[in-house]
């Protein structure tokens, strides 16, 4: 049973022949994501994996044997291994160290994405805090003036890419929000910005049910939709093959944290050209989000040695 029918959930359901539980629209963020990474568009992959084995509802409690699902038909307990495909959550203002008032016009990324796709304008001077595929994709849809403030760098995109598309880029940290009824200004480490809409797009994996198995952005923030699918395949193989588990420890984001020895591969969230040491052996990432072969053992360490580019 997979909780969430976004791209990662759809892919995991296909590879595992599982059932999906989704409260909203099937397809998630990538359904309307036409902004490519490495030539791959999320919406194409969603179409490829789209299927109808979906239970409408919201999972509110899960345990080792299954999960409780609430829907218009009532609540029921569904048995099975529960896999979380809840996607990302936006880091909160407190986590980001942003203070001040809380006027209207401050949107978490996903809500801004939904509103824009439904035909609403979220503001006339929009600032997006967070530089990643998802914020670039939103920016590509906005007619309004957009300024990126880079809270953290994108793995899969370069700053020049945003500039080429006409988005202003500002490297710095957002510090404070000002405004009474509606957002008026933003104080940043690099100066003040006039703005009537702020989109919070610094992301974290989201696993609200505290599940052992998670996939996609619920496991690791991944910007490349093809890697989201690859991650789902990896998890499915690891679950289906059984075998001894290898614990993977890394100072870089990685997925899965525990992998079947028979599968023996993990995805690491580093840029192309990053020098890594995997179980004592040095290597260079040939692409962003590389798929790394890991040696046999109970516990394998992946160290980031630096960047060659």
């Amino acid at each position: 049973m997979i909780v969430g029918a976004g791209l990662s959930g759809l892919a995991a359901a296909k590879f595992l022949r599982g059932v999906l539980v989704e409260r909203g629209e099937v397809g998630g963020f990538f359904l309307r994501d036409e902004y490519p990474v490495n030539g791959v568009r999320g919406c194409d992959l969603v179409r490829e994996f789209m299927e109808s084995n979906v239970i409408k509802g919201t999972v509110f409690e899960a345990d080792e044997g299954g999960a409780w699902v609430l829907s218009e038909e009532g609540s029921r307990y569904l048995r099975g291994t529960v896999i979380g495909a809840n996607g990302f959550r936006e880091r909160t203002l407190l986590e980001l160290g942003v203070f001040g008032s809380r006027p209207s016009g401050v949107f978490p990324l996903y809500s801004a994405w939904e509103l824009v796709n439904r035909g609403y304008r979220i503001g006339e001077r929009v600032v997006i805090y967070g530089f990643n595929h998802y914020s670039l994709s939103l920016a590509s849809k906005l007619k309004a003036e957009v300024t990126f403030i880079l809270g953290s760098g994108s793995i899969a995109h370069e700053e020049a890419e945003a500039l080429d598309r006409g988005f202003g880029v500002m490297i710095g940290a957002l510090k404070r929000i000002e405004g009474k009824g509606r957002l008026e200004a933003l104080r940043t480490s690099e100066g003040d910005l006039k703005s009537d809409a702020l989109v919070l797009a610094e992301l974290s994996p989201w696993n609200p049910l505290n599940l052992s198995y998670t996939v996609g952005n619920a496991a690791m923030i991944t910007e490349d939709p093809s890697k989201v699918v690859e991650g789902a395949k990896l998890l499915a193989s690891s679950i289906l093959s059984g075998g001894r588990r290898v614990e993977v420890i890394s100072d870089a984001p990685h997925f899965p944290r525990e992998v079947s020895e028979e599968v023996g591969r993990v995805i690491v969230g580093v840029k192309r050209g990053t020098k890594l040491r995997v179980g004592g052996v040095e290597m260079i990432a040939e692409e962003s989000y590389p798929l790394i072969e890991i040696p046999k053992g109970d516990r394998i360490r992946i160290e980031v040695m630096g960047c060659t580019e």
């Binding site: 409260r23 409780w68 609430l70 203002l93 407190l94 809380r102 009824g181």
Partner: protein, 457 residues
């Protein structure tokens, strides 16, 4: 233009004003409540911790006495109105060896002054077993019973709904600009016109000084800002407060608390501000609260969801002031523990109105239908969930509108939508459209919390 006349006009629909209208609605009276905010309870009352208190120093103060008498009455009213709350206790925790020397003395002092409430000395071992989140630095403590955490917004709206359905008229978004004492009545002039009443009650909270000024009086509040941090989960089943050897009379010092919905709540701190609308939180607030409380626990506090601030009107003498000037009763300085004391305060105001000549003839009242939510009993619920963090259904959004929500914040406060860990990430667009549909307006016309707070265009 004179608009209408009433037996009583209440200015302010915070917890005190609403508790007064709730009590007045049991009598055969014509009552009007006026508030400058678009919805009730949006002043001081929307930004406190909703804790039903017991310990309030000094014990001889009026606010301490009213809190102790108001404590059981507030929970009785919650029961009557179907308002959610959780009973709990407070642990006053000793973390230094010299604290242990004074612990028995503080225990005796509390026992002598808190008749009717349980007070127990607690050893380190049992405390650490019962509250696994507690730091190993905790050496012992005193447990005081009788506390509770209330669904604050549910209580505010319950009082509003009960008062309204039992005859109280409300005029929201209207500001009082003048008060004239006439022979046998009082005239209230607002930005929309004027009313006449036999009596006026000033329960304007943070703005009560300004209403007092309109009647010729004068008082200067200190504006005490308190910031609270909200986490995605609670880490204890009791409220955890550090022991102080020199308590600050202006604050109980805050605690690690939780909400009725089991979210973590840390604070408040206390610092002074010059502006009544200064409800911003700063990095310094976060640092102060984190440093103060993190030493009491050894577990991860969870995901910090947000910080919010409330401002207390601290009066001279640090005690509530309730005074009558002609036909006007002023309730001044209703800072903490005004929430706990509110039923007793309202009763006091009613007595003063009665003593002044207001006829209090009881009438039959209709009950308030509790606001039922999926998350109260999800395994028996049904519905299309819109907010997954707080399990808010589409029907709950519609019901909030039917019960009087006019803004998105009004819906958030009534239902909990957009107030969970994702802060509206997954539900804001749906809430906006369902609310607009129920109100029969375009979503572009909805405001977050009042004029100028447009959401989308």
């Amino acid at each position: 233009m004179m608009r209408d006349s009433y037996d009583v006009i209440v200015v302010g629909t915070g917890i005190i004003g609403l508790m007064i209208t709730y009590k007045l609605s049991h009598y055969d009276l014509r009552v009007l409540a006026i508030d400058r905010n678009p919805e009730p309870g949006w002043g001081v009352s929307r930004a406190h911790a909703a804790v039903v208190h017991v310990v309030q120093l000094p014990f001889r103060s009026l606010k301490s006495k009213l809190a102790r008498s108001g404590n059981p009455e507030l929970l009785r009213i919650c029961d009557e109105l179907g308002v959610r709350y959780r009973r709990t206790s407070t642990l006053i925790l000793a973390t230094e060896p010299h604290h242990l020397l004074v612990l028995p003395l503080i225990y005796l002092y509390l026992r002598l002054n808190l008749r009717g409430f349980s007070v127990r000395l607690r050893g380190r071992g049992p405390l650490l077993r019962e509250e696994p989140a507690l730091s190993n630095r905790v050496l012992g403590g005193i447990e005081v019973g009788g506390y509770a955490v209330v669904d604050n917004f549910d209580l505010l709206y319950a009082l509003y709904e009960f008062s309204k359905s039992n005859g109280v008229e409300f005029s929201l978004g209207e500001e009082v600009r003048g008060v004239e004492q006439l022979d046998g009545s009082v005239r209230v002039i607002t930005d929309r016109g004027a009313y006449e009443a036999s009596y006026l009650v000033n329960a304007a909270g943070l703005w009560a000084d300004e209403v007092l000024k309109l009647t010729g009086g004068n008082i200067k509040f200190e504006l005490g800002k308190g910031v609270l941090l909200v986490f995605d989960r609670a880490i204890s089943s009791r409220l955890l407060a550090p022991l102080y050897l020199k308590p600050d009379p202006k604050t109980k010092g805050g605690a690690i608390m939780f909400t009725h919905d089991n979210r973590g709540l840390w604070g408040p701190n206390l610092r002074f501000t010059e502006r009544k609308d200064d409800t911003s939180a700063d990095e310094q607030d976060l640092r102060t609260l984190t440093e103060k409380f993190s030493r009491l626990i050894k577990t991860d506090a969870g995901i910090p969801i947000k910080a919010y601030a409330g401002i207390r009107p601290i009066p001279p003498g640090d005690d509530f002031i309730i005074e009558r000037r002609g036909r006007v009763i002023h309730v001044l300085g209703t800072e903490s523990p005004g929430f706990t004391a509110s039923p007793s305060l309202a009763e006091l105001v009613l007595r003063m109105l009665g003593d002044s000549g207001l006829r209090l003839n009881e009438k039959p009242v209709s009950r308030r239908e509790p606001f039922r939510r999926a998350r109260d009993d999800p395994k028996r619920a049904r519905g299309h969930v819109i907010c997954a963090c707080n399990l808010v259904t589409e029907e709950e959004i519609r019901e909030a509108v039917r019960r009087g929500a006019k803004t998105l914040k009004g819906i958030f406060y009534r239902t909990g939508a957009c107030m969970g860990t994702c802060q509206g990430s997954r539900c804001l667009a749906d809430v906006l459209e369902v609310a607009a549909d129920e109100m029969g307006v375009d979503a572009r016309h909805l405001q977050l919390g009042g004029d100028g707070s447009w959401v989308v265009s």
